[in-house]
């Protein structure tokens, strides 16, 4: 660590970080206040390009708080309760097939169906998991969805919280032994 920090400082300074002491809000690009959102927590649904009729598929998962008298919706265990509004585009479906949205944990140990997409390729749902993946699959247009998808994955995306990962072995903590922290 002692060896790392000076070299990191050099790299950062050479990269233009030497002026980091002052950060001004007015220096930032003009940011119009959004009327909806929050865009920061939106989930990009990235196509797998493997499914016929959906090779250019892409989508968005909008994340807003579930209705709450407190503004921010929190469960009794402290997790965020969010509404998920998924929309897809560039998908042509065969008769007898439909897109289905699922929410799952990053470990895939829990999976819940959010439901079938509408003809407008939209579907809504809710979750209270800390980190989660949205999975869009191609399924039969009718019948019970079951506990897990059976068709191919058309698109998937990860919650913003899923991007948070350990610092052990990275950046300023590069020399911290990952194994000590269970990684």
């Amino acid at each position: 660590m002692h060896r790392l920090l000076p070299s990191l400082l050099v790299v950062l300074t050479l990269s233009g970080w030497s002026s980091l002491e002052t950060r001004s809000a007015s220096d930032s690009p003009t940011c119009l206040i959004p009327v909806s959102g929050p865009e920061y927590y939106e989930i990009d649904l990235v196509g797998t390009r493997k499914v016929r009729g959906a090779r250019m598929a892409k989508g968005i998962g909008e994340v807003t708080y579930a209705s709450s008298p407190f503004g921010v919706a929190i469960s009794a265990t402290g997790t965020y309760v969010v509404s998920l509004n998924l929309s897809m585009e560039n998908v042509t479906l065969d008769d007898g097939s439909s897109l289905v949205a699922w929410v799952t944990t990053p470990q895939l140990d829990q999976i819940k169906p959010l439901g079938r997409f509408s003809e407008e390729l939209r579907v809504d749902g809710q979750t209270d998991w800390n980190k989660f993946l949205l999975v869009v699959t191609l399924e039969p247009a009718s019948g019970d969805l079951g506990d897990i998808w059976s068709g191919p994955i058309v698109a998937r995306g990860m919650s913003r919280s899923g991007l948070m990962h350990t610092m052990a072995g990275h950046g300023p903590f590069e020399t911290e032994p990952c194994a000590v922290y269970g990684y």
């Binding site: 970080w17 002491e21 009327v35 929050p38 503004g71 948070m164 350990t166």
Partner: protein
């Protein structure tokens, strides 16, 4: 006199830090001077958190300060629990702020109190009444009293330099309070809240309705005041002298309290409906309160009832917010009051469930009389609130009159902090439930951090903003909490002297409103407030995280007749 007292605090003090519990910091190098005067020591933190080498000797750039430090504890009267003062129209209450002796978890501390009580005296009055408070400052710092949420006359709002001069040590000020709105309110200093409020200067005002059956029935009413305080085995962690420490995230306490104690207990009968009046007086901590799985419905917010009661599993309450909830205890058992959160361990990149025990409610075998169980299960519609709000619906779709962006500027922070903050940008949580970076937070002072309210329409910032409104205006403010700032954080936004509705959040219309004076603005969110401008004068609006307020996060607005 004041200078002499301060000299006592800073210089002529014995060491209290000598027996600092190093077990609190096993694995951390606490190579700090523990001499005879008040010195900085690292705040308590989880020992599972590794530290960057070479940073452990860092201390805040401001000096340490602790009111009453080194003084003989026996000089001070033991503070007593809060008492209720039922005041009739025109009554006068004499109340001071003073140093007191407090016992928390068996340890004695020199703290502050209004009227020698923790919390301060509960002022109870009828809606529409007026009372006088003759206030005297007996602490060693200038102070004022702000009567949070009251739509009172401007000159009594308690903002130094705006509505009054600071009340110096030994001086007095007469406040005239009026209570136009039913509900629970609170009072606190508006000078160095990070110190004075944290040390115990807070109290409630309960405004009773004049109407019959204003609320649904309940068996009893109980005020609960939630707070936290930062303590280690050597005592209170010092505050910054010329500016607050903990300017980035606010000063999270590690000891949580209900009504000023850590072992709150209440005995109730089986089947009781208890109406709790909840107030969060913490500097920065937002609580997620759970009542042991009891059925619970939220009845009212800061300044009014909701349009309709709403059943909830927990209550999210930010600093300065109040909620009135009815809780039904239908089983003979123990119900724990807990703060149930998902804290974040940034080092490991994981959420960590935490449950903080705050108190206990023991339900006995005796049945409550009368039995309101059958009425409790119905969520009441409050037509009086719906009718009041209906007059404002015509403004719900109007374009915002003001657009505010919440952001932050920093200067001269230690480079390693800047680096760490810049590196850790992959995920910023909507809410900060815990001090996830205690060392970095502690080291950031109000002299290095400027929290900014940026008026997007004019480019003006914070106290350069002075909006001009007229009595009768209905003003829409759209607030965006920028997630891409240097350090995004949730802010409880408070507007003095007026009331407002939260009409929309992130593009979603609010289906059940109450009049508010303080509202959480989560990171990344856009929240629309509709202000009912009724009260003339020069007022403030600000973040109610004490350290953010003192780091500049406030603006002014003038209301003309």
């Amino acid at each position: 006199m004041l200078a002499r007292l301060l000299l006592l605090v800073f210089l002529a003090v014995p060491a209290l830090a000598q027996d600092h519990d190093m077990m609190d910091h096993s694995g951390h190098n606490m190579n700090m001077n523990m001499g005879d005067s008040l010195v900085w020591r690292m705040p308590p933190m989880k020992m599972t958190m590794p530290m960057i080498a070479g940073t452990m000797d860092d201390v805040p750039i401001v000096g340490p300060m602790l009111p009453g430090y080194g003084m003989d504890l026996s000089m001070f009267a033991e503070a007593k629990p809060s008492e209720i003062f039922d005041l009739a129209d025109g009554d006068t209450l004499h109340m001071d702020a003073s140093l007191v002796r407090r016992t928390i978890d068996g340890q004695e501390y020199i703290m502050m109190a209004y009227g020698g009580m923790y919390p301060g005296p509960l002022i109870r009055a009828d809606r529409g009444s007026k009372v006088i408070v003759e206030f005297t400052n007996n602490i060693e710092m200038p102070t004022t009293v702000h009567w949070h949420g009251l739509r009172l006359d401007n000159e009594f709002d308690g903002v130094p330099g705006v509505t009054q001069d600071p009340v110096l040590t030994g001086e007095s000020f007469t406040y005239e309070l009026k209570f136009p709105d039913t509900g629970m309110y609170w009072y606190h200093p508006h000078m160095r809240e990070d110190v004075q409020q944290d040390l115990g200067l807070y109290g409630n005002m309960l405004v009773d309705p004049t109407e019959e059956n204003y609320y649904g029935p309940s068996n009893r009413e109980v005020p609960l005041v939630f707070d936290d305080i930062l303590i280690d085995s050597s005592g209170l962690i010092p505050f910054g002298d010329s500016a607050p420490t903990h300017a980035l995230m606010g000063r999270f306490g590690n000891v949580l309290m209900v009504n000023g104690i850590t072992d709150y207990h209440l005995d109730v009968d089986k089947g009781e409906v208890v109406r709790f009046y909840l107030t969060n007086v913490a500097n920065t901590r937002t609580f997620n309160l759970v009542f042991g799985g009891a059925k619970m419905k939220v009845v009212a917010g800061d300044v009014s009832k909701y349009e309709r009661e709403q059943f909830v599993e927990s209550v999210v309450i930010a600093p300065a917010e109040r909620y009135i909830v009815d809780v039904y205890f239908d089983e003979e058992r123990e119900y724990a009051i807990t703060n149930s959160i998902q804290s974040i361990d940034h080092f490991r990149g994981v959420f960590v469930p935490e449950t903080h025990h705050l108190g206990t409610i023991m339900v006995g075998s005796e049945k409550a009389e009368p039995d309101f169980g059958s009425q409790f299960v119905k969520a009441l519609e409050f037509e009086d609130v719906q009718s009041d709000i209906a007059d404002f619906r015509q403004y719900f779709d109007k374009q915002p009159d003001h657009n505010l962006r919440l952001t932050v500027e920093v200067n001269d922070l230690p480079r390693w902090i800047v680096m760490m903050m810049e590196v850790d940008t992959l995920f910023v949580p909507p809410m900060e439930w815990n001090d996830a970076m205690p060392m970095m937070n502690w080291l950031s002072s109000g002299e290095q951090v400027d929290w900014v309210l940026l008026d997007e329409d004019t480019g003006r910032k914070s106290m350069d903003i002075n909006w001009n409104w007229k009595v009768g205006d209905v003003v829409k403010i759209r607030i965006f909490n920028d997630p891409k700032s240097f350090h995004p954080m949730n802010h409880p936004f408070h507007i003095h002297g007026q009331r407002f509705l939260v009409t929309e959040m992130d593009g979603q219309a609010n289906p059940n409103m109450a009049w508010k004076d303080t509202q959480i603005i989560p990171v990344g969110s856009t929240v629309e407030l509709l202000v009912d401008v009724t009260n003339p004068g020069k007022w403030m609006a600000h973040c109610h995280i004490a350290e953010h307020l003192h780091a500049g996060m406030m603006l002014s607005f003038t209301v003309d007749e």
